[in-house]
Subunit: 358 residues, 2 copies
């Protein structure tokens, strides 16, 4: 099974390209005051370490907008300026070196203001994200008699047409709703209306557990249909969790590979070993093995508690173990390797995993 991606017109955000055949990029947004350059840079570097590829910062005032200049110097990844209400901030952010700006059609819509921003973006050679949110639709659309997902599409397309009339096509689009079903329908709608790359996200997803679930359903459904060129998982949590979730969504769909994938059974009355503990231990060991995680090679490890699905899943993985009768049976590339004592299983699995990477 492979996903057929929608062919979007490629766009450059700093040194990252999205759309076309470029991989789906994982992005996040800082939760610090942007003008607090030290704190913002610390968070950006931390996110970079977790695999963030594009970072957005909130621009509330000219101090935030000007801070982008210094942030750019210290950061290793493209900076996107998030602009609302005030067109002047967009222009200052562009002058400060932002690699992309995000505009909200719900709060910056006057044609003369938009023209000015578009000229600045064109001169700087940076793209604009048309970012519509269900919570901030302009009055023209919010009161219209149509379902919310249509309002999002109509509102975005109206704004896009205006920008296109200015001869500008360096556009990325997002349509975020807080409902999973509306989000999916909105993106499906816009995907058929234009060829711009799509930035996927659910807005206001809520508590951590439900945030991950909502984003996985909405973004997973869309990505599986080939829709989406960059993703942001919004969580009311530290931003590194957004990156972790985003990467796992892409990896689950086979769209990207960020390191070994571990599959394990849920355990049941058949399991005679502490599988939950072992898998937790394996997860820890794998994440500390920079040499493994860094190579970004697809590698599937299976840890299975019994003989029902164990041998089958273990044999289908690159490496696997199935427990039974007080020992583990190791598998490598589909063939049974050897029996190992339960206590040495994780160690042996890691040894074999390293071997596959050499």
């Amino acid at each position: 099974m492979k996903i057929n991606r929608r062919k979007a017109r490629p766009v450059e955000i700093g040194n990252v390209r999205i759309g076309g055949k470029y991989p789906v990029a994982v992005q996040s947004m800082t939760k610090t005051k942007t003008a607090d350059i030290e704190k913002t840079l610390t968070q950006i570097k931390r996110l970079e370490g977790f695999g963030c590829e594009i970072i957005r910062v909130a621009v509330r005032d000219s101090e935030d907008a000007c801070a982008i200049k210094k942030i750019k110097r210290g950061a290793g990844l493209p900076i996107v300026a998030d602009i609302h209400f005030n067109w002047r901030l967009a222009v200052i952010a562009i002058e400060s070196g932002a690699d992309k700006i995000r505009l909200n059609p719900g709060n910056i819509y006057k044609l003369e203001e938009l023209k000015y921003i578009v000229s600045a973006a064109r001169l700087a050679g940076i793209p604009i994200r048309v970012g519509v949110n269900s919570g901030s639709l302009s009055r023209n659309f919010s009161s219209a008699k149509m379902p919310i997902h249509k309002k999002l599409v109509v509102s975005a397309m109206d704004y896009i047409r205006k920008i296109e009339k200015m001869g500008f096509r360096d556009i990325v689009v997002s349509l975020k709703a807080s409902s999973v079903l509306d989000t999916i329908e909105a993106y499906r709608g816009i995907a058929g209306h234009c060829d711009y790359p799509l930035h996927l996200g659910v807005t206001a997803t809520g508590l951590p557990f439900s945030g991950v679930i909502k984003s996985s359903i909405a973004l997973g459904s869309l990505l599986r249909e080939g829709i989406g060129d960059t993703i942001r998982i919004s969580l009311t949590r530290p931003p590194e969790e957004e990156i972790k979730a985003g990467r796992l969504i892409l990896q689950s769909l086979g769209l990207r590979h960020f390191g070994p994938e571990v599959i394990s059974c849920p355990t049941c009355g058949r399991c005679e070993v502490d599988l939950i503990g072992m898998v937790a231990q394996l997860e820890k060991k794998l994440s500390s093995l920079g040499d493994l995680g860094g190579k970004k090679k697809p590698l599937k490890l299976a840890v299975m508690g019994c003989v029902v699905n164990g041998p089958g899943e273990a044999a289908e993985a690159d490496l696997g173990v199935a427990f039974g009768r007080g020992q583990g049976l190791l598998f490598k590339k589909g063939r049974a390797l050897r029996k190992v004592p339960v206590s040495r299983t994780i160690q042996e699995l890691l040894k074999e995993a390293r071997g596959l990477y050499v």
Copy 2:
């Protein structure tokens, strides 16, 4: 947006009905030795408290199969016996009062054995789940030259036809793969081939975070297409987390409502309050309010950090708060209620929430 559910032939599992217009049931499986009746019952009661509606137990030997009799007396929800390899265990489990049995076509396939099990199930008036797993396909199908999702469908349909020829139609079907894409394609395939209720699940999902993500993508995609009558989230974690995740998936899609839904923004440089802390506090307070959670009335609460999407999302929710300028603005059913100090926000939200439930 509403989901159009596939019309499945209804099936009774103890006092729970699935298929047709019956709500999608949330189920789990015990991780204890079934013959350890005390431990198993303790886990079942705990799961019941978390909202589990059907519980499956592993049957490894006749001791496990006989234990079902006593477990049934203490448990308040239907018991499903999970049978592999040994047809005798199926018959003992049925005699012990199991409300449904699960058979794996990969390891119980001899026609005479199957006939005997089907007669026992017919006499007891209980359904059979035909549960195919990618890790335990019978050799006939595992070596066939076709994609894994087709093997799952063909293998299930072959077994179903055998059972149908015995005049038995009290069937539930599952087709679990450890890959998200294969799982989705397999269920889409079977949904077009028969009208039996479908038990959805991804097998061997792996580490906790990725397990929730894989299940959300696969089950979310299918449920949104109307496919699925009962779900089990397999996690290598304590089983109550499986229930929590399952309920959140159904609630995110509007298929069921288990209590108030909280939506909150991810926070960014615009946010001037400790929103992450407040939302965590709200989550805790809501879960301890039995009177709120128990009524299962859809109620949407929004907690938003700033004035960009805040007022819009808060006004769309049943109750909401948007922060700005050092205070919170409360909304109720779309209308601004009053301003509240930041420190009293959660308290005031809970007060209003209780009011809506009276």
